[in-house]
Symmetry: C2
Subunit: 407 residues, 2 copies
């Protein structure tokens, strides 16, 4: 019998009424003739409350402390998985909850963002053979030494895809509070429409660029293990969006989606001696744990100096500026200009692989609206531009229309 893994996020299990709805979706799929394995997140807001409690207790500045933090955080999924199993049982369906250590899902000991090494599906398979629905607590696992780990925020998606891969499931349904993947954020673009299909690569770019529906790691894992993933809502009957390998239909679209994020800040250093170069800057920032995203470098007039502009997470902005100012005598730049009010707008589509001219069309459309591009960064299936934050919505709507995504 074919297996379907169904994963329900925090809003889908937010209270007992929502969990009863989940139980009904599970029973319905089972009535379709599938063996169903369920993966659940913690009830909405529970994880955040637990994080707050742990952080109030102590700083979390070493792996031993993070081990205790993981033990605290994992209780969220421990409760939601047992509640769903209880409710399924109250509907006369055989079910039982499984914690990370009970399966076991083995990770390394990088607490709070552990990496899955191995999933032993023997016991889950045994439960399925006995007609018992396994309800797996997502996000949590265990080290080979028997300590509880968590695999990072959004980790329940990754748990679900990993379980689906290990069980060779026919499909992994990721239930959330949106209908699927859209051509743009419907709150910004009223004419945005839901995509029936999207390629793994496009989804990966979308996830990296601020679309919060799926976690990047889960997409990478799905791509690697060829897991057919469907993203859909537990609040309605919509069929959602299927993540799959590219096909003809997808390639015919020049651009699949337009996305934007305001999570980044811009820094420009002028008059940096070529002898010092960018490496010095980026090693310095790496030492302080600051990640850099977009980078552009121009030679300045005299030929001996360069200007460099880059972006980094907005959360690190003040720390970043202070580090650069403290090290001015070492880096020997003449001027520092920083701006947190910027946005990154991107167009994504596997169609770009076979079509030139997308970039030119994008730049022209933005120029027509007098939107200045500060930095450009591209991949094979994506073009991102950094612009002033106040133009973000206009830029997204303009590009959505330029690439004929309006429904």
């Amino acid at each position: 019998m074919a297996i379907i893994v169904k994963k329900f996020g925090g809003t889908s299990v937010a209270d007992l009424e929502r969990i009863k709805n989940v139980a009904k979706l599970v029973m319905k799929e089972r009535a379709n003739g599938y063996q169903v394995v369920v993966v659940v997140s913690a009830m909405a807001t529970v994880t955040n409350s637990l994080v707050d409690l742990a952080k109030k207790a102590s700083s979390l500045d070493d792996n031993e402390k993070l081990a205790e933090y993981d033990s605290i955080l994992s209780t969220g999924e421990q409760i939601s998985s047992a509640l769903l199993a209880l409710i399924l049982q109250s509907y006369q369906v055989k079910a039982r909850s499984w914690l990370g250590w009970q399966i076991p899902t083995i990770t390394d000991n990088t607490h709070s963002k552990a990496n899955i090494l191995e999933i032993n599906t023997d016991k889950i398979q045994e439960a399925l053979n006995l007609d018992i629905i396994p309800v797996i607590a997502g996000f949590q696992a265990v080290t080979s030494n028997g300590r509880i780990t968590t695999i990072g925020r959004g980790g329940s998606d990754t748990t679900a895809v990993a379980i689906a891969a290990a069980l060779k499931a026919e499909r992994c349904d990721i239930y959330t509070d949106v209908d699927g993947i859209f051509t743009a954020d419907p709150r910004i673009v009223s004419t945005a429409s839901k995509l029936d299909k999207i390629s793994y690569e496009e989804m990966l770019e979308l996830a990296s660029l601020g679309a919060k529906v799926l976690h990047t790691r889960s997409v990478i894992m799905a791509m690697k293990h060829h897991v057919l993933v469907r993203v859909l809502s537990s609040f309605n009957e919509d069929s959602g969006t299927i993540l799959t390998n590219e096909d003809k239909q997808m390639e015919q679209r020049l651009v699949t989606a337009v996305t934007c994020t305001s999570d980044e800040a811009r820094i420009t250093l002028s008059g940096l001696p070529k002898t010092i170069g960018v490496t010095a800057i980026f090693s310095l920032l790496a030492e302080h744990g600051i990640n850099i995203d977009m980078i552009v470098q121009n030679s300045s007039n005299k030929g001996r100096n360069i200007d460099i502009t880059f972006t980094s997470g907005k959360a690190d902005f003040h720390k970043l500026v202070s580090i650069l100012e403290k090290n001015k005598s070492i880096l020997k730049y003449s001027d520092l200009d920083a701006d947190p009010n910027v946005s990154k707008v991107s167009v994504i589509g596997v169609g770009m692989l076979s079509s030139a001219g997308v970039a030119q069309e994008m730049f022209k459309a933005l120029a027509d609206k007098s939107i200045e591009i500060i930095v450009i960064s591209t991949s094979e299936i994506k073009i991102s531009v950094l612009i002033a934050e106040e133009y973000m919505e206009l830029a997204v709507r303009t590009l959505h229309s330029t690439f004929k995504l309006d429904s």
Copy 2:
């Protein structure tokens, strides 16, 4: 190095400030040159909230459902143990939390009131050897099959005593929100005083008779394994009460404590044919899961019938009366008289073992206050009487004074 086990109840770990106080008590004991093992309950009110949540999700009418219930309930101690370990670490003390399954503490699979079969202390001992303070989640354990169990309400006391026995600890300190064991409830008797010592047997009677400081099972376990237990408050520096074997000092006291409870209700059946007898009644009630406590039986005038009076938990009162009424035609009694407004008042003391006359003195003191005794029940070190509830406080104060316990 000698080991001391310290157990902290729900009010002692109610919030982060209280947990910090617990950390300081632990560090202080350690500075005295002991190896300290900590056992914690869930933060006050947490367990009740989890019970409510589980009960709202489903009835808990079989062992499979109770297995999920145990998984939910055990998160309370999972959180408090990790928080205390975190706080100890933030004070630069090596510490780590231990869950029931990590130790492991093995029980049978009677979920929600499992019985401890075995505790493997190897890992705890290893931690102690590495100078790490083990912080053990009380109340929870695991079956040999790897499912989480809980050992019943008040179970953290039992966990602590069992761990102390397994580790051959020098003492087991049970921290609570009262100063120790008193000669009577200080809310009823203003002259009640704290006992420095009490025998296991006396404590057992007290625990069975409504003193909520220690759980009966933990006292039985302490007695069986000769664990020296101290009951004390985490809110002040008082030295508490030591539970130990009887000694000269204890035997010199005729009565050690006066206790009372209003948890029971009285039932009297008159004119019950001797041919039917009490066995029929008590088998019937046992079938319905109703426990009977005090029993008194009188032959009535005609010689062929008997009258019987007994008490049972107040919570079962309506169910009990309804069962007896439904079965009147089978039991053939002539009259049923029931009263939930009764109290049981008891005097306890190992001194009774070697001194006659305590009962007589007790009955006379009550008679002098015109308090009618409905039922009497005695053990070697205890005399209990059932009286009208409205006289309870007066009876306790009178006996406290009669047996010279006023401080």
